[in-house]
Subunit: 260 residues, 2 copies
Amino acid sequence: MSFKHITSRDNPVFKQLKKLAESSRERRRLGQTLLDGPHLLRDYMAVFGTPRQLIIAEGQSTNEVNGLIQELADIPTLMVTTLMFAELSPVTTPTGILALVDTPQLPLPETLEFVLMLEDIQDPGNLGSMLRSAAAAGVQAVYLSEGCAEAWSPKALRGGQGAQFVLPVVERSDLLALTGNFPGETLATVMQGESLYEQDLRQPVAFLIGNEGAGLSLKLQAAASRKIHIPMQGQVESLNAAAATSICVFERLRQNLNQG
Amino acid sequence: MSFKHITSRDNPVFKQLKKLAESSRERRRLGQTLLDGPHLLRDYMAVFGTPRQLIIAEGQSTNEVNGLIQELADIPTLMVTTLMFAELSPVTTPTGILALVDTPQLPLPETLEFVLMLEDIQDPGNLGSMLRSAAAAGVQAVYLSEGCAEAWSPKALRGGQGAQFVLPVVERSDLLALTGNFPGETLATVMQGESLYEQDLRQPVAFLIGNEGAGLSLKLQAAASRKIHIPMQGQVESLNAAAATSICVFERLRQNLNQG
């Protein structure tokens, strides 16, 4: 096992990695992204096998990271300084290991009965958290509008905790067309509407969730088969978009558990 | 209406404000905090009246902010440069207005039937989001362990979207003692346990939620009357702590709606 050691920020390989870490356009262009930390890398490997390349920080020595490096001894590995590593990593406490991977493309199931559509979600951590809840609740596919944050950014990957590796995520989707064609209820979550808890969710369902501040566009609201809201009882009358998403998708899971 | 104009970062008033913006110790010492943006300030004013002081950015001109400045013409107001304002503000897109306020202390209801206990939640944005969901679901009080992030930091306030102004939050609580003394079910959310959906939540309930990575401490798990988990159906077997909190508190709300 031998590492290529890079200590200069001017090194073209490092510069290219930094571009990939920072630019969603670059990630799209190359169809590649960076995974940060041993957990995310293990989740990726469980589905897709080995990564293209490892990037490790000098002086890194946790057992977990060392184990991975040993296991992946055949994979090209770059060692960079701690400071350079920090420039590539989205987290404040560096994990010591990054992996360069091809952005996964999971096939869509033939029959879709549980779908999430996200319109213009801005915060990548929020988006990642939504994908994580969706994956845990058994959502089969998530469609993101053109204006959504990128699902493969380091922050969204961190928020998703591996969700992106098991749940098909379709970026830059035409949510209006998808809503029109969905063979089941399309439920627009809005501030006023029928109660979520009065919906029969034991059927094909697509939940439509809007932007954190502005909510769902009027166009999508009009295209949906129903407008629903989550009843609230406190003095605060709105929820974080990721919280609302979690409540909706887990209400469907709850109803389907009760059916069995 | 006249502003005190500060243009030097060495100005002692600015330095003091910066300390308050950055240091939870300083906020605790003074019993004061900073609110960022017109929405949060309006929410505060609806409950507690006028703030101690306004801090506005040079060249600020949204109608919403100008309206607030006019309304609060009697309140001491500092104007600082855009760059200095950015140093005080937690958001990347500056709102142009900050307010110095006394940290609210809301009285606890005499009878507590719906309580949330949070152990060592690290991420202030996550904490804020939990408080927001709790307030929306009708939780009556939230207790934070000593190791929790601070509820009054700029990031937690931003995540809470006003929740801290209507929901009593008790920091540095002894969760073990509170769990022992709570007159109702104390439900520890863990990875294995009874299903959340099989609990009868139409009674006094306290939900115990643990740290994002480590989960609830064994001590608190042992002290709780039951261990519960949120059933999952996907290939991802864990949830963001804020998502889990939202699902739990809204499941109680749902059950109580059904009762009526």
